[in-house]
């Protein structure tokens, strides 16, 4: 699939490494938490892109690995706190899936810190911002993923 790189994007050259991060957020808590950060104008790093799923239990190792395969430098999976899951125990299933993901990521020789599972509730706009800032910081410190084949001079 050929997608044209836009003019604007070409203009931007990054002095330093800007990570590509995919964040899977569940519809009921974490996505709502990210919205709450917005409603309260809690500023945080823009270096992540949310993909909304209904439940964190929907996020399989396949999704995380696909993102990493395509060159993502970090993947965040975020759901509801235990006991708060809109689907009762979906987040417990997310934990099981994530354990597999983490084991595979480790065997692949990627830093385990590139993948993270977090719980952020709909009210925790501030926490969402903190989680993002912290994770972006961590990934930036780790540097580009060995699977990130993008040229260094831009996106």
């Amino acid at each position: 699939m050929a997608i044209k790189t836009s003019k604007r994007e070409k203009k931007v050259t990054w002095e330093e490494f800007v990570p590509d991060i995919v964040a899977f957020a569940c519809n009921w808590c974490s996505y709502a938490g990210a919205d709450t950060a917005g409603v309260n104008r809690i500023q945080h790093s823009p270096n992540f892109r949310i993909i909304r799923t209904m439940c964190s239990g929907r996020v399989t190792p396949a999704y995380v690995l696909k993102a990493l395969k395509l060159g993502a430098d970090g993947v965040l999976v975020s759901g509801c706190h235990f006991g708060d899951c809109h689907y009762i125990f979906g987040n417990y299933e997310a934990v099981k899936q994530f354990e597999k993901t983490k084991a595979l990521v480790k065997t692949l020789g990627l830093d385990e810190k590139r993948v993270r599972l977090e719980w952020v509730s709909a009210a925790e706009g501030g926490r969402w911002a903190d989680v993002i800032n912290e994770f972006v910081g961590q990934i930036t410190a780790l540097g580009p993923s060995p699977l990130n084949h993008k040229p260094k001079s831009g996106k």
Binding site: K7, V12, N27, D35, N47, R49, R52, G90
Partner: protein
Amino acid sequence: MLDAGRHPYIDVLTNSELTGLGGHAGNFRATVRRNPRYVSEDLCTGCGQCADDCPVVVPNEFEVGMGARKAIYQPFAQAVPNTYIIDSDNCLNDNFLVCNNCVRSCDRNAIDFDDVGREIELDIGSVIVATGFDVYDTSALPSYGYGLYDNVLTNMELERVLNATGPTRGHIIRPSDHKVPKTLAFIQCVGSRGEGKEAGCQYCSRFCCMNAVKDCLLVKQHEPDIEKILVFYIDLRAAGKGFEEFYQRSTEMPELEYIRGRPSKILEDPKTKDPIIFYENGETGQVSKVRVDLAVLSAGAVASESNVKLAAALGIDLDENGFFKIETRYGSPLHTTKDGVYVCGCAAGINDISDSVTQGSGAAAQAERHVAKFRVKEEPQEIKELDISGPPRVGVFICHCGINIAGVLDIESLKEDAAALPDVVYVEDNLFLCSDEGQRLIQEQIAEQNLNRVVGVACTPRTHEPIFRESCELVGLNPYLFEMVNVRDQCSWVHTAEPENAGQKAGDLIRMGVAKARKLQPLYRKSIPVTQSVLVIGGGVAGMCAALELEAQGVKVFLSEKEGRLGGRLNSLTKVYPADLSAFELARTIVKKINTSRVEAIASTEINSITGYVGNFDVSSTCGNFRVGSIILATGAEIYNPDGEFGYGEYENVITNQELEDILHDSKGEIKIGGRTPETVVFIQCIGSRNAGKNPGCSRFCCPTTIKQAIRLRESGVNVAVFHRDMRTVGAKAEEHYRHARALGVKFIRYTPERLPKVMGNGKRAETVEILELALNRTLEISTDHVILASGMVPNEQSTAKLQDLLKVPRGSDGFFMERHAKLGPVETTIEGVFLAGCASGPRDIADSIAQGCAAAAKAAVILSGDTVDLEPITCIVDKTLCRACGQCVEICQYHAPSLTEVAPGLSAAQINPALCKGCGTCASWCPTGAIAALHFTDEQIDSMMEALLTVGT
């Protein structure tokens, strides 16, 4: 709030007052005064530009004065409607020289200073009063220094401070020096339980104890470096489902100390501005003072001032505390003194959230009685569906949201990028896409450009997706072919200072949104017919009230009871407080109502099996088989059997409160227990409750029951002592009764779980009870004729386990059925169409059980309100050719939607019942072959988003 605002049959009239009510139940005419807002609800989009330009800054009431707002403002974030309002007291347009800044800044000409408000008349069938409460004005108690000292706040102020959306964004700071406090103290019962004599608060405000416990945990969470939190209290009233367990967990926090004692005063150190609290420690008897950085007064609740005016307009009475008076004669705790006018929540007295929600639903059920016959039948609209075959034709619509998006993002550049994306055939921007004009643009372009996918680049799908979907649907485009890209809440609002990066992100998000849109498939809401009947399991007070409410709305009800007669626990009670109603009379009245109604009461019935789902449950019982649309579980609870505790079972004169109730029930005049008139009776509280090992929860009803029984005994001359841990006066007037019992001379002696009272006896009779009296720290021996054990409630293991098995309704660790949400769904379960009432979900008193019965009825009535129920189309589906019957989906699903069925001889495949599936997609992630697709979030759709994001330029 949003749901109500968006509901087709709910008109939200804000900024309005009811000024008169004529007519009678079922046929009222209400006069409503709509006060001027000066901003048109139709035109305002809530963008907030006007507030940015308004020069007037005043304290924000919602932030309890701790934040600021403009003279044109939104009362609070997410207010419904999303319309600004002008505070004419502060607006400069009242001046000789008008300011008009807002008029100039509004791009939609929504400001109208000529608005004078208007009076409207409504023809209605019933009225529900839900006007809430006012917070006690703590400045009326100068000894606590509120209003005098900077560092004394109320609990309401702390709530705002702790809120992430509050004035300090969740950070706790001392008002005097803006430092983070290291020590904090909560002072309970400020303005409650007789403290606020001036304001007349004799009662317990009920929610402040749990509110303080919760705030302690939140404080620790927000400021982990906090060194000390003190809570000064009299009785810690953690009476509600899960509350006691929550309270016990809080005691494990090392920084938190509960001190029994109400401080005498707070003084301020003039130099440091530290509040200094003077108190006597109720346990040690020591008088001390403590210096804290911040003191929080747990202010009680008082009746809303506006009640007087409203009561007059409605023609109903208020009680002595200024709350709406309950007409107890109907047995309903929601009925005002006028038929057709109902009350719920804190308008009738103090309730916590969960009870208020229950009462809200209950009041709705009662109000429905008068309007059920006028129920709106929806006329299905015939809209021709557009042909969407052929390659995707995507239209991208970008919203400026005034300057909310366009002020940060370069819209032109986004448009240019979007136009270059595959299958995008049309790109347009609009000042406010959610406005009528914006939506019309989308509708017109769908037709003009033959769009078969629409991408809305605006705010969050959580609030606005329904608007867009509806617009698409109205012009024949399947609403699930719309995709929303969130560049406001999750982009322009949070990366305001980095427009370049925000622009890059928005571009990526649009690319992802378009990629998903290209893969979207139409989904259709299926509807299934609903059997117009309800089964209520359990013929106690909750079950009977639920049945009667439904019957009054014309619903066919089966009321099944496993015992031989209806009435449940009500049959064995004496009087029901606070109304001083005879329980026997109440039971007889209700049973009589049932018998003369069309409710099909089937006593001595066991339910054998239940299959099916919402709308159609097939029930098989010992009294035959039938089909119902909904089920209410009102199975009640049992009294805990205290065998072996405090001499129960060993001494014949140690009995439970239930056994005493039976005796009182049968006694006329003089009370005889075991054949003789007692001289002294000792009650011991919390038997089988608040017991960390077995039954950690508080049973809630036993304290008021003991008080009721103690009064009865004391009134007939018996000496009564009550050994308790905290007297928890739950329910209307319970605190007043507690006070009355004390006035009559009932002795209340506190014990701690570390030193339990000892019952000592001789042979078959208990003779004395020993207790460590804490005030003087002395062991007290009381000789007594009878010991009454206040036994808590436990679920009936056998019947609850059976119904859990039949209906798959989960049970909590306490064995009671689990509600869908502790606060917001107290009578719902995770199984759609199955509801809870009364003690099935936890211990409750009669009034609360009735409210729950009504609430469950209202919820069941919602399901039966149409001939069909619409099923959410975002579900999971199984491709049977791919399924290898591994059964993982069946094991994982909490809603029991998937099941294995035989598709060919010896060959099984999973199938998912769309009526049960909630669309979470967790089964799809475990499915090894990909046989399960989570619609609208399919692997293909999510993969395409990742590819669009991460393969740029390749």
